[in-house]
Symmetry: C2
Subunit: 250 residues, 2 copies
């Protein structure tokens, strides 16, 4: 039986997981920001990632529903405001639709999530379920991939602007807003975890939660690679050159 870590040692272990497993290490991320993706790969990435974005406020609402402290809820609810906006047309989801619209998808087709890869759906659902079912400490810890997101967003925006004539600073406005929000959110979550994960089993669970979340992100890029780089699009998913199905024929 190993004893508990100090908060600093726990934070170092969390950061090590990011250094080893965060999806900035995935070949699809490198391909995307190095400008090696064809437009259909960028379209597929944006289309699939929409589902992740759209489920984040639902995930955060399940976490919010389990917080007993009003001060904590005031902090956490900011995440929902960030994504859903103060009014229609505002917020992260609306900004993501600007990106998919600029890539040629109709908002209603994207929002229907009909064309996404089944692996995207299963991974995102797993994240929502994890946050609904696991102890609050672990749900909060699973958000800690945001510790690593300001860097990936920087690489992504500069890489995409440099390499793809079909994206602009305006269509990438989602990412302009995110680093400040992510920094605020991950400061809060990291502080919470440092103060509340005190026993070794709690600390191990926190580390496992972050590993799980890295898996959620990694699986999404694996699926994009298989479908749109290797070209093995699974049945029912959007195929380049085709419209997103409006409904399934019986």
């Amino acid at each position: 039986m190993t004893g508990p870590m100090t908060p600093d040692a726990l934070e170092a272990a969390l950061r090590r997981i990011g250094a080893e497993r965060y999806h900035n290490l995935h070949p699809f991320h490198r391909r995307l920001h190095d400008g090696l993706c064809g437009i259909d790969e960028v379209r597929a990435w944006a289309l699939n990632r929409y589902y992740y974005q759209s489920m984040i406020p639902i995930k955060d609402a399940t976490v919010l529903s389990r917080m007993e402290d009003p001060a904590m809820r005031r902090e956490w609810r900011e995440r929902i405001l960030d994504h859903d906006g103060r009014e229609a047309g505002d917020g992260g989801i609306a900004r993501w639709l600007k990106l998919t619209a600029s890539l040629g998808f109709a908002d209603e087709d994207v929002a229907s999530t009909r064309g996404i890869l089944p692996a995207t759906r299963f991974a995102v659902e797993a994240y929502v379920n994890f946050c609904a079912k696991r102890p609050l400490l672990e749900a909060i810890a699973s958000s800690l991939t945001e510790l690593f997101s300001p860097q990936i967003i920087g690489e992504r925006v500069s890489g995409m602007l440099a390499h793809y004539p079909f994206v602009s600073r305006d269509t990438l406005s989602y990412f302009t807003a995110r680093p400040v929000q992510a920094k605020r959110d991950s400061d809060f979550a990291l502080d919470h975890v440092r103060r509340h994960a005190l026993t070794r089993p709690e600390q191990d669970a926190v580390l496992a939660a972050l590993r799980f979340k890295c898996d959620v992100l990694w699986v999404q890029l694996d699926a994009l690679w298989g479908a749109y780089v290797e070209g093995a699009v699974p049945p029912g998913a959007w195929r380049p050159g085709e419209a997103i199905a409006r409904e399934e024929a019986a």
Copy 2:
């Protein structure tokens, strides 16, 4: 608005989904039964598929818990007996462990599910959650991939026996038992769906449930292909030549 189908038309639509989306069409299945997999690909397939097998009785217990008719429960509970066995060492899960043991994995490592691919975990969890949350009719319909399994099992057993010196009829005993069970189960489920999916929305939901289940199976083979045919093993999953991790280091 389209009107309801006759039961025969509904059954034909279900069988069409199988003909278009069942995982016997996946390149990994062909590779496996054609003898083109290396032993490590067969090992990875058996290791990952164990998780699916092991969760089936849990899925079936959630379905059972929602059936109000004792006669229906008597039918459905046979599925749990098939997988869990009448006694220790009996049943589908125990027979699957014979296969993984013959491929060199210790039972406790397999049962820990530590080395499986995250995509396997997410897909199987999605199936269990679907059956727990969706209407009973859809949960039953999602089992209808068994309509198509006797054929795939026949191809798999004959192909694997012909091509792989490291498998035998004894280590493949899981599959010997399955076709009769699957036929009984799919007869029941098909009859239920034919009699209870009477409105068009119910019929559409039944068809969507079967499509969803095909996705659950397809995603698992996609993930095996990426990790063990293409060689892009995701962080944390079993790597050929290495032992399955007993615990994560902090």
